[in-house]
Symmetry: C4
Subunit: 351 residues, 4 copies
């Protein structure tokens, strides 16, 4: 009996860690852009383009653009008339929500903020539930049991989310959450969202090495181009941001902080590596940005690489990175390792 | 104190496995027919006839006729004005839903599809809950714990189903699901829906042999006549489907695949056995189809045999099979075994 | 700090077994009378009188008068404008519901009937929840785990009841239910509703002896006058029911069955005992019926004695039984034991 | 990345025990005042002033002013248009609710009263949920398991509260509740609300000594000024209440009981100590009342000190107590201990 084929888009899909949820290997994130540097119309255009490319995974957070990222994405979903079952929507909780106003209890991973924060996110998104709710950074003062119980509560009793995950947690914190969930018979996190790219591989390949097989944790990684650094576009402007770049635009606390570091010590070191990587991309006949995206996806523990976009064309270009994956032969990967360095694994305790 | 009698119909009822749910020993299934080869009016007529014969068990699936089977059955239930408490409605999830469109996450046994799929089924059926929701085939890539938790969730927290079961799972998969449910204190499946008939007895009588007593699993079996083969109607047309038969009609992927096998090797072997069984039915003075149905019900582990029907008269005729059960003496059963073969049980490990 | 006094009515209250729920020591039951032999107006009048006497416990069942008992009691509660928090309403499930029609699954203690039956009862009562839902007789074919899970479900997840109990179960069945609840972390039954009176003390004082301390089970007993036999009104009519008595009226299956036994062997033996008990009541200067009610309440394991009433005056008279309790001195109790016999307890295993 | 600052108010916040919930170190309580001695307008003015001072924690109870405290506070919250996420609202259950009428089951810690009582409180408050629901005094006749299950039920299944706590329970009772919650996998209490002040430190510092580290219990203490005694305002009126004081006003059962004790033996002893403490406050150049509040907050186990207020100015004055905390040097604390006495801890068993 023939199996009806999904839309033909050239996109690839992976299960999110050990779970039954499928995400496109490229996801579209709403950080900085939607509701922030990008207006409503651009948001709709980008989401439409992503969907047409086969992307089914859209990521936002309560704190992005003070809640406007969720509002813009929610409106775009409505306007585009998508089937809710066909998309995977994630949001994140920890840093307060609407209006950028952080109240005393309007942040962190207490039961109060997880319940109130997710509810507020759903109102902004105008959705009944998200597919994944992330703990956006750990909350080291709230007992882990309170946090795990609260995520289980919004999934199991409220039906406000289907899965939960973590973002930028330490390996020990993820292991603690999984252990408490197992001990109490509650739902464990299925995914971690770390920063991961050619210039920052240590956490994902080192510290996290035992999480994948032991707890079935999947990864949705962000910042694959390290804020554009791996697109090579800052290679020729080592001192100050080129006009039209996000760092020249500003308007976001994080962007402004990054702009302040522009041209500093670690920035120069990173640019140096980007300069060295460029010939490898040239030899393969692909842009450096596609090489950088494809390199992330060579790692089987990565379920999806979240990219940002301020115009639809970027999405189309980035999707071509999928064709680059097969070009990353062992020899090419070795050349890359030579430039960016590798992670030494603990020889005794690794799985 | 006298017990008020149920409607006098000659129908018999069995508990579904070890559960407290009662199903008529003949059930009516919506596969291929309702919403597919049969129109709305015929659906209503068949359901009415079945109900008048005492049948209380109606089976459908999200994937039957691209969701139209559920829509037609739901409309018929409304039109016939049945008491919801008086009927047992089951549906199945795994293969996507409405419009035959299979989306990336719109299939399988992930929490996402079980939650979204059942919700969509209930909307098509226009019911608040089904009695049984089946996992339509296993999903070997989704962790069993995610699947068991999700079925428990829709039963215990959402109230969208009262029981859950499996369909065409392996014995080890059913045992794993029951074991996980027990370990986590969740609701275990109560029923498996396998193919079972005179020409295919191996799985039910062999592989499943320990499931009945160990886990209280009941069976609702389908295809009792092996797509009409055991009605004897293809005995005289070994090469191509007779006019008016479902294989001549087509219009369903599975039917078309079967039509392609028509007259092939296994088809001829099966027809051969049907030819040999005919004299036994003749000697009992009953149609071969009734013999075939009654034979399924001789197996105490079978709670209900699901039949299809494209017109009301077939249902009335099939119900007469109940009178045949008592005619299946040990001698007759031995003659049948001679023709169709028996299943050798594992002598050491069987219960 | 003074504690505001409840309404001054002379009524007494006991906790229901080991639970935190308080019931008046006399309860009003809707069996046979409300919706059956008694009309709407009488029902309201009886409930009002009971409430004015301090009775807070009203008992009905899905099967009483084919569901009309629940309807009449629900309408009376609405009409009387009672505070919901001030009353304890119980109903019972097992024997089908509205219209006296018993459907295939519309009885027993399956998850299907517990969910559907309680929902139907609440609709008839026009209440959001009952305080106690009873399993009206055991269902020996449904797995106990299914039954315990279903009662837990309607209490914990649906909020349709606050507590659950059993009625006319065996000690082993109650112990099994409590054991399963403990093992699975579910809510256990808190109360059993047995028949208990001067002529039938064996089950409550013998078979049940270990349930009270081990499981904290309380009792709401019914039939304190054994269908009027202990009112002494049949003492002078040993052969056929006096005019105006419930047995002359008929109209209920149970009543008719009892009427058929009227004058039979066990009936005559019981009347004999009632004749012998009369002088004891006379010596105390109270009606035999009050002696019979008070005797039930001398048993500390009895939380409430459920009485029927077809007119308000009976309630007022029965409430006077509370004053008789203190007259039941050890000497009087010994005289009674002499006539009705005592229960020999298991000397080794009793608590 | 800079963290947006909360409103600049000089207020301090502490986590409630080991939980993730943050409360201002001064809370505003509705006992005696709101809905009782204070009218609607005053209630709004006090709540507004408290909020402007950075207070986020507002405490009431079903029994305060016969339910009117909840109604007044609820109306004030609506009128002030506060963000629900920005405030912590607590109420307490045990002593019956609206109209001061205590019904048979309308008190205590049974499942019936916890469910019905909290629902009634939410209606009076016109809120969907409270942040904390307290068990207002223990209920020694209801099984602890019933109480713990019921609080878990209203939090986990109903969503009517986010946390639960106890008020004026014994250490053994709190430990029992925490133990049962752990054994059954239910939500444990996070806070106890005891009376605590310079004249009553024994329970908090002695009996409770092991609760803090073992169970993570936090404290919200009440009566920091012992009904005004530690404001020094009764120092000059040892025999009868000064005009305008709450004891002269009356109108509340508790206040009247206190007024009856006015000038009695323990009252005189307490006044004596207040007289001796005054010079210490004078030496620090602060009012005695601020010294008394600050002293409570020197105890790290105290999360919040609940104060009453009948006019906004009192709140402003009390908030100045926060500046006094740092003035309480070891020497000053020793002088205070000399006057009020210390608590001898169990040297062997303390943690």
């Amino acid at each position: 009996m023939a199996w009806p084929e999904p839309r033909k888009t050239g996109m690839q899909y992976r299960r999110l860690g050990n779970s039954g949820l499928h995400v496109s290997v490229l996801g579209l994130g709403g950080w900085i852009t939607f509701g922030g540097q990008s207006d409503n119309e651009t948001t709709v255009a980008c989401l439409k383009q992503a969907y047409d490319c086969g992307i089914n995974f859209f990521d936002t957070a309560e704190s992005y653009a003070g809640g406007k990222s969720e509002i813009f994405i929610g409106q775009a979903i409505k306007q585009l008339g998508w089937n809710r079952n066909d998309i995977v929507i994630s949001t994140k909780l920890n840093w307060g929500g609407a209006n950028g106003e952080v109240l005393i209890n309007n942040h962190g991973l207490s039961r109060k903020h997880i319940v109130e924060g997710l509810r507020a996110s759903l109102r902004r998104l105008d959705l009944e539930y998200v597919d994944i709710v992330y703990a956006h950074r750990p909350d080291r003062l709230t007992p882990m049991e309170e946090t795990v119980r609260a995520f289980n509560h919004v999934i199991e009793n409220k039906g406000w989310a289907l899965y939960w995950g973590t973002s930028e947690w330490g390996a020990d914190e993820i292991a603690e959450a999984c252990g408490i969930a197992k001990a109490l018979g509650l739902i464990a996190p299925i995914v971690e969202q770390p920063l991961y790219n050619l210039l920052a591989r240590k956490k994902v390949e080192g510290e996290f090495q035992r999480l994948y097989s032991r707890f079935g944790i999947g990864l949705t990684t962000y910042s694959p181009l390290k804020f554009g650094l791996l697109s090579g576009k800052y290679n020729e402007a080592p001192d100050s941001p080129p006009e039209g770049s996000r760092f020249a635009k500003g308007g976001d606390k994080f962007v402004e902080w990054m702009a302040g570091n522009y041209g500093g010590e670690w920035w120069r070191k990173d640019v140096e590596k980007a300069v060295k990587l460029k010939p490898i991309a040239d030899a393969l006949g692909v842009p450096l940005s596609q090489l950088a995206l494809a390199w992330c996806l060579k790692n089987d523990n990565v379920s999806s690489v979240i990219m940002g976009a301020s115009k639809p064309e970027q999405i189309v270009e980035n999707c071509d990175a999928l064709k680059v994956i097969e070009k990353l032969s062992p020899e090419v990967m070795a050349q890359i390792d030579e430039i960016v360095g590798t992670v030494t694994l603990d020889p005794v305790r690794q799985d």
